[in-house]
């Protein structure tokens, strides 16, 4: 049957990179798969597109489940499209640590955008990435950036440290929040408070919306963030679109604010963090592989399990053996 004909071999990475730069949707999709599976050609791909990145404004949108993030993004994208901007979206959902599977349902609220040529949506699971989901997200953002998207939105459920790491890829971090979520303040406390550039109280048509605003205000005043940017708190009702143009306007203000001064400093900070991560990972992996080859890794591992040595001392012992006593 003709349908069964053999799968076309994956096009060369150069070809995919060219496609990405031309904004070809199939190439963008394939490129993200390459970096997702950390295929050998991933490094090559990123090196080819990197010179063409840095143009998109990256928005990180996070908040507790049920705060209406996906619906809000759908409305934001419509507003950006009205303004003639193209948009890429990376929606991240957790992988089950037990089965390795994931249910990626963020698109449900955005499906009407899927046939818009100016919009590209990709769902990603957190998986067990080498280098972490944060790195995979950064690379996916680079691909959408290189493909010419004006805005790239990264969506995650805001809970825990790894989400904070993911969202740091963004220039502007929007923390969404809704009245009536039981653990709302807890969810925000978990490190998100400090990194939010804009707070949104969504579902503002609910009666206790103003209380939510006051709660956040109170917490913001306790923060000791020293910056010229005053973190605003906006109210939106994503389902009707109320407040969304104002949010988009505020993001634009923040973009201009970054461009004026802090922008370059932030870019340096981001670049440093990324460089340090890659060096750490590369060095650590090569050392670990060597130790494994030499057989001492397993040996020490067994000693840890048998409680003969603690992990920190064991690591020190291995490194001393490898590099001589340096510490």
């Amino acid at each position: 049957m003709k349908w069964k004909k053999k799968r076309k071999p994956l096009a060369k990475v150069e070809e995919i990179a060219r496609g990405v730069l031309a904004g070809d949707r199939r190439s963008i999709a394939k490129a993200i798969t390459i970096i997702e599976s950390n295929a050998p050609e991933a490094k090559k791909l990123i090196s080819l597109i990197y010179p063409h990145t840095g143009k998109a404004h990256v928005i990180g949108l996070t908040g507790p489940g049920g705060s209406g993030k996906s619906t809000l993004i759908e409305k934001m994208v419509r507003e950006y499209r009205r303004r003639g901007k193209t948009v890429g979206i990376v929606a991240i959902d957790p992988t089950s640590p037990f089965t390795g599977g994931a249910f990626l349902g963020d698109r449900i609220r955005m499906q009407e955008l899927s046939t818009d040529e100016g919009v590209f949506i990709r769902s990603m699971a957190t998986r067990n990435y080498a280098g972490g989901i944060a790195k995979a997200t950064k690379d996916a953002v680079k691909i959408l950036d290189a493909a010419g998207k004006d805005m790239v939105i990264v969506e995650t459920v805001g809970a825990g440290q790894s989400e904070v790491e993911i969202i740091k890829v963004a220039h502007t971090i929007v923390v969404v929040h809704a009245p009536g979520l039981g653990d709302e303040i807890q969810a925000i406390k978990a490190g998100l408070m400090e990194i939010a550039d804009i707070f949104v109280v969504n579902k503002a048509d609910r009666e206790n919306a103003d209380k939510a605003v006051i709660d956040i205000q109170a917490m913001l005043q306790h923060g000791d963030r020293e910056t010229a940017w005053k973190t605003p708190i906006l109210k939106t009702t994503a389902i009707t679109g109320d407040g969304v143009p104002q949010l988009v306007e505020k993001i634009e203000e923040h973009r201009i604010f970054l461009e004026k001064g802090l922008g370059f400093k932030r870019s340096l900070g981001k670049a440093e963090a990324e460089l340090v991560d890659v060096i750490k990972e590369t060095v650590a992996n090569s050392i670990i592989e060597e130790l494994k080859r030499e057989g001492i890794f397993e040996e020490v591992l067994r000693e840890i399990v048998e409680r003969k040595i603690d992990p920190a001392s064991a690591a020190q012992k291995l490194l001393n053996k490898k590099f001589g006593k340096t510490h």
Binding site: S37, N38, G101
Partner: protein
């Protein structure tokens, strides 16, 4: 360290019926079998389904339909897949589809059609055995 290549499946509901219990049960079963399952939600046009499959770079599409419009919608989906060069995606279907329609649908390239009451293990097995090999 090398990452892994996960099986990515799109579960889609074309057409106008509004019952997605079956689609969700299958989505959940495939997720629990270790796959990454993207769900579109209800009332999808063939264009939306095919465009989603493209953007998400899926290996497999599962179509769920109860409305009886499969003879109109499935050919359109298969045609669009061909148009976009996505013929390497394996497509299966489920829902309320009369037996006499099945041969015609299979001729379009739909690999298998599952009726009501199919055990989820059977669907998982089928997907694992028929997922296209990537290089």
């Amino acid at each position: 360290m090398r990452g892994e290549r996960k099986i990515r499946v799109l579960i889609a509901k074309p057409g106008l019926d509004s019952h997605d219990r079956g689609a969700k049960v299958v989505a959940r079963a495939l997720r629990d079998a270790g796959m990454e399952v993207i769900y579109t939600g209800l009332r999808q046009t063939p264009e939306q389904i095919v465009e989603t499959a493209l953007q998400e770079d899926v290996d497999v599409i599962g179509l769920s339909i109860l409305s009886g419009a499969h003879k109109a919608l499935f050919p359109r989906i298969m045609e669009l897949l061909k148009e976009k060069g996505l013929t390497d995606i394996m497509v299966f279907a489920g829902g309320i589809i009369p037996e006499e329609d099945m041969p015609e649908l299979k001729k379009l390239g739909i690999k298998e059609i599952f009726g009501p009451g199919t055990p989820t293990e059977k669907i998982i097995q089928f997907v694992l055995e028929n997922v296209p090999k990537r290089k």
